[in-house]
Symmetry: C2
Subunit: 186 residues, 2 copies
């Protein structure tokens, strides 16, 4: 940690990634379990997603995206492209469900997927193995697992933002100080 640049990037380490992936269900429970319905349905306008949609999207990822793609890389390498990911499947998954039911399903799927991921005992050579993404071509196992991890944090960020912005008017003049509301980053 001798210069600032060192603090902006971490190399991918499988144990770190599994640790982060294991944290997400508890993070979502703490943020969302028991929230009143208007907060769960709150969004950022138009076709943007709310917390309910986002948890449905994470469930769909556990079912069809991350671990299934890892297995395709191990079994078929570049020979078989991944199935394209359906970015609207959560609307079907979520219909008629409660947030608690979605959170429980997500936690169960994540637990099982991480158990299976650990059981694969991926070696450094496995992390270098290459699969084929349907849109942008060759990707490594390492990139897939790094993306799974960053994707979780992306949606945690999104949930906090969707909720916090609901008070955009209520905060009054503090609006300018709150980056979650003003939209500036940093």
């Amino acid at each position: 940690m001798t210069d600032a640049t060192d603090r902006t990037r971490r190399p991918f380490v499988l144990a770190d990634a599994i640790d982060f992936l294991a944290r997400t269900p508890a993070t979502l429970d703490a943020l969302l379990s028991g929230l009143p319905l208007p907060w769960i349905a709150a969004n950022e306008g138009g076709e943007t997603w709310g917390a309910f949609d986002i948890v449905g999207h994470l469930i769909h990822g556990e079912r069809t995206d991350w671990l299934p793609r890892a297995k395709i890389i191990l079994e078929h390498g570049e020979a078989r492209p991944f199935e394209p990911f359906d970015r609207l499947a959560q609307f079907e998954i979520s219909t008629g469900r409660t947030m608690e039911s979605l959170l429980d399903e997500f936690a169960g799927l994540r637990r099982r997927n991480l158990k299976e991921l650990r059981a694969l005992e991926l070696t450094p050579a496995d992390l270098d193995r290459v699969g084929r993404h349907p849109a942008f071509g060759p990707v490594t196992m390492r990139q897939l697992l790094a993306t799974w991890t960053a994707h979780d944090l992306d949606h945690v960020m999104q949930i906090a933002r969707v909720l916090g912005r609901q008070y955009s008017d209520e905060v009054g003049p503090w609006r300018a100080y709150l980056r979650i509301i003003s939209g500036t980053q940093g």
Copy 2:
């Protein structure tokens, strides 16, 4: 919820705000407790904050900002401006501490402050009471408490972003899909 606009704003309700404020310690524990030191120190470059700094900043807010300002409004109204908030105090608070010690202190302070906030039994008339911010003048109790809540979510968002961006290079071509990394919102 008859049109999209309805879903982008929630009116301030004291019980909602207290519920969100009570969730933050568990959210931070889930995201941060036990993380290896390089992740805790990770930041977004330059003078930006990492998770360790952010939790120190939240502790400082519990000690000197939110509830003390609410009490100034109740006792002095606009006659006595709030103390300016020291946005760098966390560097002193955090020196030599572990993340676990900071998380525990934050959880204890938050618990006590919410107990005290509930005991104030603020009425709708109290929420309309006006205090004086040292920089931008008149603010209501309602705006102060809405800001306390949105401020928590702002920093949860920031922590998720700081952590997720550490894999900006490791995700390879997925970089373009991950808004946490590409920096786009929505």
